[in-house]
């Protein structure tokens, strides 16, 4: 009875490497004298880059035959398997991680956050996110989700001298814990109804007539709640604006991009691999969530004057766009291939959204804290095109991408793919609602972008001083990623999890 499982270490390499770096960083921080703290940032960055290298090596192995590389398997279904979907998500998460680390560099120094612990927590959360992307059973997904959430509670509350930061931490903690409890209850019901935790076994069980369908349906829906919170879809979105405002800007960036991407990875895996045959149940629900998120997100964002809160509401609205294709799955129950196309639409949008959003957060972190608001108010950006032309152009480009308007071609292609997904599912009303929402979206992105070029007192933006190297690299990386997606979006479009038997 061989007790120890054969572990495919290469497949597990990326998250493993991150975890090791995290521990390394923590230990180094304990021994290194205070003035060496920039090294910690560097070490964290090298760790992430190594993980990215591992990811690419894996990609070379997996992509050609498109055969997923599973480990920790029980019979045919493995609970940790690396396929094109996982690799894409891990790559996106790691790139996002690099950019967030670059942003954090400046803020950690200026805001006096404890460098060692900050980077440790960030890396652990990132490792958790990577695991979710590769997880193929409910246990790993749940634990992974917790590994992503817990460090972030601490990170959010890290600005200990600012009362609002503690408040934000508490709000997020309470809402997150409750939604995890609800999700776990859902998992227990699904386990009870299908008899297994592995996604593809669940999928087979759901198709058998014998399973108690109401219980399974309720379980599926409750599981959806957990991911709904992570993705900050309406009505689970209340925590996001307050948390983004209270948290350090780098952590807000992490929340808005990495943790949201992890949430979507989990959601796509669960919905397509696990509950594919129940599309009739969760399809309409996801469509309603998508419609509500877009509309509420855009409407409230219209009234926002603080940059970080506007980004929070914008990310809620963008979550709505990402959910839309999945919502359209209801129309075509039982056709796995088309479900793959819809999932690919969401995955593509998430990848492009991640890169676009980071560009904006990079500029926000450069602007820093102005009278208690991370990234200041929109009016503080007035006339930035004159004092920091390159930065202003980068911000305008990223905002154009978010709005889905050329020259932001990446955003446009993402929107086209999502529109196509919704229409193949036959949800015409959702597509038209999305068209209206893109207009609402453009309204507030435009309000911000036009302030950059508005002739205002340029001495207020000049006060930000020269652009430090690490912010320049972060912005450069984000804009380069977006530009790449603008020209070659097929890198990220059309990638869906390999659906089991």
């Amino acid at each position: 009875m061989q007790t120890i499982q054969s572990v495919d270490y290469l497949a597990v390499a990326p998250p493993l490497m991150l975890a090791l770096t995290a521990v390394g960083v923590l230990v180094a921080d304990a021994f290194l004298p205070a003035r060496r703290s920039p090294w910690i940032g560097g070490a964290a960055l090298t760790g992430v880059l190594l993980a990215l290298a591992a990811d690419l090596v894996l990609a070379v192995g997996v992509l050609p035959q498109d055969r997923p590389r599973g480990t920790f398997c029980v019979g045919a279904s493995c609970s940790y398997s690396v396929d094109r979907f996982t690799l894409l998500f891990q790559a996106v998460l790691l790139v996002a991680g690099t950019v967030v680390l670059l942003l954090a560099n400046g803020e950690v120094r200026r805001a006096g956050l404890p460098a060692g612990e900050f980077h440790f927590l960030l890396l652990t959360a990132l490792a958790g996110a990577l695991t979710i992307a590769a997880g193929r059973d409910l246990v790993i997904l749940v634990v992974g989700l917790e590994v992503v959430s817990l460090p972030v509670f601490a990170l959010v509350a890290l600005r200990r001298y600012d009362g609002r930061s503690a408040e934000a931490g508490l709000t997020m903690f309470l809402v997150s814990v409750t939604s995890t409890a609800v999700m776990l209850f859902g998992v227990s019901l699904v386990y009870g109804a299908t008899g297994s935790m592995l996604l593809d076994t669940i999928s087979a069980a759901l198709r058998r007539p014998g399973t108690p369908h109401t219980v399974a349906a309720t379980g599926v829906v409750l599981v959806l709640v957990g991911f709904g919170f992570k993705v900050s879809a309406v009505p689970f979105h209340f925590w996001a604006p307050d948390t983004y405002q209270g948290a350090p800007i780098a952590v807000a960036a992490f929340l808005s991009v990495v943790s949201k991407a992890a949430g979507f990875a989990g959601l796509v895996l669960v919905l397509t691999v696990g509950f594919g045959s129940y599309a009739g149940v969760w399809g309409p629900l996801v469509a309603v969530l998508a419609a509500a998120s877009m509309t509420v997100g855009n409407l409230v964002a219209l009234r926002q004057r603080a940059a970080i809160r506007l980004l929070a509401w914008s990310s809620i609205a963008q979550a709505g766009y990402m959910l839309a294709p999945l919502g359209a799955a209801a129309g075509l129950v039982g056709e796995p291939r088309v479900l793959g196309v819809l999932a690919a639409a969401t995955v593509g949008y998430v990848a492009i959204y991640a890169v676009m959003n980071l560009g904006v957060f990079a500029v926000l972190s450069f602007v820093g804290w102005i009278d208690g608001l991370g990234g200041g108010r929109l009016d503080d950006y007035r006339g930035m095109a004159r004092s920091h032309p390159a930065l202003a152009l980068a911000l305008a480009f990223c905002l154009a991408c978010l709005a889905g308007l050329p020259p932001g071609l990446a955003g446009l292609f993402a929107k086209i793919v999502v529109f196509r997904g919704v229409l193949t599912g036959g949800y015409g009303w959702l597509a038209v609602l999305m068209a209206v929402n893109t207009v609402l979206g453009l309204a507030y992105y435009l309000a911000w972008a036009s302030r950059l070029f508005a002739p205002g007192p340029s001495e207020s933006t000049a006060a930000f001083g020269p652009v430090p190297r690490h912010v320049a690299i972060a912005v450069g990386l984000a804009v380069a990623g977006t530009a790449l997606m603008s020209v070659l979006p097929q890198l990220v479009l059309g990638v869906a999890p390999t659906l089991g038997g």
């Binding site: 109401t214 309720t218 307050d242 629900l285």
Partner: protein, 599 residues
């Protein structure tokens, strides 16, 4: 060969205009314009002399449906009218050199008149109905520019706008008529259309004819679209002479004559035409008798004479109408040019300012007397012969021979023609007396440049009738001749008696209180002003208001409402985690219930 000759007839004035407009200032005044018109006149005469019908054809452009062609179509009718147009235009061009000496805008004026001549010749000689329409519209624009020659005077510019809009309204009718005929015949060429008339259904032909009537009424200032012509007198006199006497307003008559088979196939249209002609004939004649300005008298007289031609056409007298058209062109142009000379000499157009110019301006007196005689229809002037043909035609129709128009209408036309002859003689004599008799007034005879054309036009006004005796169908009939002469002598006699009884007093006082009513042609102009003009401007104001308030506001409003709705939802974001948790768990409950109920 004749067709090849006809093309330069049209192109010569067009080239003159094309050269004159940009370079006019540098060349001696009017040389280009007069040369162009002269060349055109000579060629027109050559074409008329050879008088063999011919046609040329060239495809202008494919349109996906019926192709638009360009070409010239020469026939007996078109040749004669072309000669008339070119000769009168030549006279006017020469006259204008003197009349507008020292006017800085003369070069553009001369070019526009040549452009007008080219447009009129296009209408006359065109082989394709669309090309006719093009010429028709260009004439309208040239008349707009020339009426608005003194655009610094508000009266002139508003008269120009009114003339263009009214004629444009008619032109739309004409265009639709062309569409009906063209689509029914499968081609816009006049020969094809006329050939296809028998095959067309009765309703199509009737519709086409009625639409043509609308077009023609607009252009020839017949009732109800007549009120623009009296105001058009704001333009310089030669313009009135050429455009508002001889050519443009006559184009309507020419067109009906050209498309006569269409009208023959739709007798109802002719009835309508006849009734309109009768109404405008009498109304204009009375208005001429009552109005106080010399040029307005002549303007109303033109409307009345045109109605005579239309009446002749209505009763089937096509040759009579054309004969009267030609003779009218000669003596009416003459009258306008004389009026121009008189006005420049005296410095005002009102009849009360004139008087006693007999000795001061002998040549003008002589030529204007010939003009008035022809207008009134005293033998042996050409006016007498052509009017007599019209009376004869009306007589035959009334006696039921031609049986074209319903007999009642034919009787109405005959009576109206005679009545109009009488009133015409009356107002001609009145104008003549008021201008040249009464208290002496210091005035100088106009220079040779002006009197030359007057004499040139006096000749045909006097001798044309006699020259035309050669053709049998142009000979007068004794019965109708005697009747018309009697009525003319009666009309003139009444006015002479009135003048001898109270020399110096305006014979129009005979009308007493009815005078202002008749002078303004039954206040039709103010009626249009109050109803159509005010309604349109009112509607325009309301449209602008609606556009700002409803359409504009609806859009900006939706933006603001979205903002307000956003503000409303924002209230839920009050920082209290408990509220967030309630929202979350309530959402979960709703979803769970939904799934349980539905699944």
């Amino acid at each position: 060969m004749t067709a090849a000759l006809a093309v330069p007839v049209v192109l010569a004035p067009f080239l003159a205009a094309a050269v004159g407009l940009p370079l006019g200032r540098r060349l001696p005044p009017g040389i280009v314009a007069i040369a162009g018109t002269a060349v055109s006149a000579v060629l027109a005469i050559a074409v008329a002399v050879s008088s063999r019908p011919a046609e040329t054809l060239a495809r202008l452009t494919p349109t996906g449906g019926i192709a638009v062609t360009v070409g010239v179509r020469v026939g007996g009718l078109s040749a004669t009218v072309a000669v008339m147009v070119t000769l009168v235009a030549l006279a006017v061009q020469v006259y204008s050199v003197g009349y507008l000496r020292g006017d800085p805008r003369y070069p553009s004026y001369a070019a526009l008149v040549s452009l007008f001549t080219a447009a009129m010749l296009t209408v006359v000689l065109s082989a394709d109905l669309l090309l006719t329409y093009a010429g028709w519209e260009v004439m309208g624009v040239c008349s707009y520019f020339l009426i608005g020659h003194h655009w610094e005077r508000p009266a002139a510019s508003s008269a120009a706008v009114k003339s263009f809009l009214m004629t444009r309204f008619g032109d739309v009718g004409f265009l639709f008529g062309v569409f009906v005929l063209g689509t029914a015949a499968g081609s816009f060429r006049i020969t094809d259309v006329l050939a296809a008339v028998p095959t067309m259904s009765h309703t199509t032909v009737l519709a086409a004819a009625l639409l043509m009537v609308v077009g023609v009424v607009g252009k020839s200032a017949q009732f109800p679209l007549h009120s623009w012509l009296p105001d058009a007198m704001a333009g310089p006199a030669p313009v009135s002479a050429l455009i508002h006497a001889a050519t443009m307003v006559a184009a309507g008559v020419y067109l009906v004559a050209l498309l006569f088979p269409v009208f023959l196939a739709a007798p109802l249209a002719l009835d309508v035409l006849a009734v309109l002609a009768v109404v405008s004939m009498l109304g204009a004649a009375l208005a001429a008798f009552a109005s106080a300005d010399l040029k307005r008298v002549l303007a109303y007289s033109t409307i009345s004479q045109l109605s005579l031609m239309f009446a002749a056409l209505a009763v089937g007298g096509r040759t009579a109408a054309i004969a009267h058209l030609v003779s009218h062109a000669a003596f009416k142009a003459l009258l306008f040019l004389c009026a121009g000379a008189v006005i420049t000499a005296v410095g005002g157009g009102l009849l009360t300012d004139l008087g006693g110019l007999r000795r001061a301006m002998p040549v003008t007196f002589a030529t204007m007397t010939v003009g008035f005689a022809a207008l009134a229809g005293f033998p042996p002037t050409s006016g007498f012969f052509s009017k007599d043909l019209v009376v004869a035609a009306a007589g035959h129709a009334a006696s039921g021979e031609a049986a074209l128009v319903t007999v009642a209408v034919a009787w109405l036309v005959a009576v109206a023609v005679l009545l109009t002859a009488g009133v015409t003689a009356a107002y001609a004599t009145r104008a003549w007396l008021l201008t040249f008799f009464g208290t002496e007034r210091p005035a100088r005879e106009a220079g040779p440049v002006l009197t030359g054309p007057l004499l040139a036009l006096a000749a045909p006004a006097l001798l044309l009738g006699l020259a035309a005796l050669r053709w049998p169908e142009l000979r007068p009939e004794w019965g109708s001749a005697l009747a018309s002469v009697a009525v003319v002598v009666l009309g003139a006699g009444v006015v002479l008696a009135r003048w001898r009884a109270a020399p110096g007093r305006d014979p129009a006082d005979l009308l007493g209180r009815a005078r202002p009513l008749l002078a303004s042609a039954w206040h039709t102009d103010d009626l249009y002003e109050r109803t159509v003009a005010r309604a349109v401007t009112g509607l325009a104001e309301r449209v602008v208001a609606v556009d700002d308030r409803v359409v504009g506001r609806a859009v900006t409003g939706s933006g603001r409402n979205a903002g307000r709705l956003g503000g409303l939802i924002r209230l839920s974001q009050n920082g209290n985690p408990q509220l967030y948790l309630t929202g979350l768990l309530a959402g979960v409950l709703l979803i769970a219930v939904g799934v349980v109920v539905l699944a």
